[in-house]
């Protein structure tokens, strides 16, 4: 590998760099230890679950128990059903957000129309509003409309999570796209709609994929909406995991850890696949990298 050019603040090897690496190491021990501990705990047997030792005979039994009827009998949580519910609610919420968010993001990114900033800021304000302000009335409304503890009700309320993310990220992508490309397509006789579908959409496809996947992660990780707006029928994994903690008298730390690991895995895998786009996504398009 050729000698790397040094960027701002970068310097060549020195004793100080050993100290810097040591400092990084400290952070990563702190950062990864809970995850490692969760994996270890998930591999322990019932007898070993209250031990704090690192050496033990690992077993995959907990995962089998969590996902089977046995786990449901022990903890009264149907975890397999919860995973399915999470997938339905999160994929549903992201799809709805994409269908209504892409046109809005395109309009806001391409034209400066009267009220566009108001619309965009109202959407952004959902991201920062205290959730309970909207959940309490929804709790009352959902009970009246029969939407309490349903997938439709959850997909509706998850728009608060997925819509701002998708609209703001995609607007930043549409703004970056030169208008000349579409103009060229229009001059070639494309209709406005074909120019959008054939030229604009393919260009922002990586942005759409990243925004959709990031929205999926946040929908999956959401807790406060399903905590209040679902009962026992359509409970997603985040709420289901916490149910393992309060299982009548007997504690199942190893089962809790196994369930937590299963619930944490999809967002982790998705996040690693879109790492390049994370900075832009997490800052709602404010920081591009």
């Amino acid at each position: 590998m050729a000698a790397r050019e040094l960027g701002p603040g970068q310097r060549k090897f020195s004793p100080a760099s050993v100290g810097a690496d040591a400092a990084l190491l400290v952070w990563f021990v702190f950062s990864l230890f809970p995850l490692v501990w969760m994996v270890l705990l998930a591999l322990k047997t019932d007898a070993e679950q209250i031990s704090t030792y690192f050496a033990f005979t690992p077993t995959l039994e907990n995962f089998v128990t969590v996902l089977s009827a046995e786990g449901t009998r022990l903890t009264s949580v149907d975890f397999t059903q919860a995973i399915l519910t999470s997938v339905i609610q999160c994929v549903g919420a992201v799809l709805v957000s994409l269908v209504i968010g892409i046109p809005a993001a395109y309009a806001a990114g391409r034209w400066q129309y009267k009220g566009s900033n108001d619309v965009m800021f109202t959407i952004l304000s959902f991201r920062f509003a205290p959730e309970l302000m909207v959940i309490v009335p929804l709790f009352v409304i959902y009970n009246q409309l029969g939407l309490f503890d349903t997938n439709v009700g959850m997909i509706w309320v998850l728009q608060l999570v997925t819509m701002p993310l998708i609209v703001w990220i995609l607007r930043s992508y549409f703004q970056d796209m030169p208008a000349e490309l579409e103009q060229a397509a229009l001059l070639d006789g494309y209709t406005r709609r074909r120019a959008f579908v054939m030229v604009a959409l393919p260009l922002v496809r990586p942005g759409i994929a990243a925004a959709a996947l990031l929205a999926f992660i946040f929908a999956w990780n959401n807790y406060v909406f399903p905590l209040i707006l679902t009962g026992s029928q359509h409970t997603p994994v985040t709420v289901a995991v916490t149910r393992f903690l309060g299982g009548g008298g007997q504690a199942y730390y190893n089962l809790t850890a196994a369930a937590a690991l299963i619930a944490a895995l999809p967002p982790l895998l998705v996040a690693l696949s879109i790492q390049r786009y994370l900075v832009r996504g997490l800052s709602f398009g404010a920081v591009k990298s």
């Binding site: 790397r4 050019e5 960027g7 701002p8 603040g9 760099s17 690496d21 990084l24 950062s31 990864l32 809970p34 995850l35 501990w37 679950q49 704090t52 209504i100 046109p103 809005a104 309009a107 806001a108 391409r110 034209w111 400066q112 900033n117 619309v119 800021f121 109202t122 952004l124 920062f128 959730e131 309970l132 302000m133 909207v134 309490v136 009335p137 929804l138 709790f139 409304i141 509706w156 728009q159 819509m163 930043s172 208008a179 001059l187 990780n221 807790y223 406060v224 209040i228 995991v241 916490t242 809790t256 850890a257 619930a263 944490a264 982790l268 994370l278 900075v279 800052s283 920081v287 990298s289």
Partner: protein, 323 residues
């Protein structure tokens, strides 16, 4: 809101998008009447606006609840004006919640910002170990906060938890006791969200132009001087974006605190959202819970306006136009 372009020096405002009006992008050969072209952005936004209205309705309803005496035991509520506000504002429990929330938000944001900048600087050196760590940096950030709470709850357990064992604290140290709980939930917040600050700041550092730093190296400027006088002002907007996101989210913190302590012991970790949850969902006093949320919303709104104006100034300064 202002946006940071590629490189701290090219800051653009969203108020000036690439094309000024419909005309520039719309010279379609097949002529569409001008009035229809003007309508286009509105038509495209209709579905989103409908969803917005659908969400704003419960919001407005929630604000309205704050002026009613609505509770499960009062199914036919009546308008009571500012009675709830008078009641809540004279309740010491509310002010405890305000204090807990502000302490949490300030402590978590300050620690995360300091650590995040430090980690970003260390990773920017691109040592071998740094490049490996960078790949796994974001893992805690991508786990659901409530699951992070569950994991830490298992580790905090005085008898069976691993922390007391590893740190040699015996089996009596209570991480979630009256005086320790608030710091412990801040610790979990730091564990989850420091990577957020770090990756934003790191992106900022990497977007900086090289020339000023080469010049300062040639001039023999020390590391501390270069960081304080050159790098910090240039990455300040990135830091502020991270601070805004963190501080605002901390004001409405709920997930991992709720699963770790449910607001206890006593009201030691009863943040405003947990207080609202207890009032409206546990005690089924919707109006009192909504009053909590209305007041929190006011705090969030004022904080957001202030921080965004600070960000705007910082971005203009980083862009070089001194005021």
């Amino acid at each position: 809101m202002l946006r940071i372009g590629r490189g701290g020096a090219t800051v653009t405002t969203t108020a000036a998008p690439p094309t000024k009006g419909p005309a520039a992008a719309d010279r379609a050969p097949r002529s569409v009447p001008a009035w229809r072209r003007g309508l286009r952005p509105y038509l495209l936004s209709i579905p989103a606006v409908l969803i917005i209205v659908g969400i704003l309705y419960p919001f407005a309803l929630g604000a309205y609840y704050a002026f009613l005496n609505y509770a499960a035991v009062v199914p036919r509520p009546s308008f009571v004006g500012f009675e709830n506000f008078a009641e809540v504002l004279s309740d010491p429990a509310f002010w405890t919640s305000v204090r807990v929330t502000l302490f949490y938000a300030v402590a978590a944001t300050v620690i995360e910002t300091a650590l995040g900048i430090g980690i970003a600087l260390l990773l920017n050196r691109s040592s071998l170990i740094g490049r490996i760590f960078e790949k796994v940096l974001i893992l805690p950030l991508m786990i659901a906060p409530v699951i992070a709470g569950v994991i830490w709850g298992l580790m905090f357990n005085p008898q069976f938890g691993v922390l007391n064992h590893v740190l040699g604290l015996g089996s009596t140290f209570n991480w979630l006791g009256e005086h320790t709980a608030l710091w412990s939930v801040v610790l979990v917040d730091v564990w989850i969200f420091t990577p957020f600050v770090a990756i934003l700041v790191l992106a900022g550092i990497r977007s900086l132009p090289k020339e000023p730093f080469e010049a300062s190296a040639v001039d023999g400027a020390g590391w501390v001087y270069t960081f304080r006088r050159l790098m910090l002002p240039m990455i300040w907007p990135y830091i502020l974006v991270a601070v805004i996101f963190r501080f605002m989210d901390c004001l409405k913190i709920f997930d991992h605190v709720y699963v770790l302590t449910a607001g206890g012991p006593g009201d030691a970790t009863r943040t405003l959202q947990i207080g609202a949850y207890q009032n409206s969902i546990v005690n089924l006093n919707y109006s009192q819970g909504s009053t909590y949320m209305f007041l929190l919303w006011v705090i969030v709104f004022l904080t957001a306006r202030y921080l965004v104006s600070v960000l705007g100034k910082a971005q203009r300064r980083a862009a070089g136009s001194e005021e």
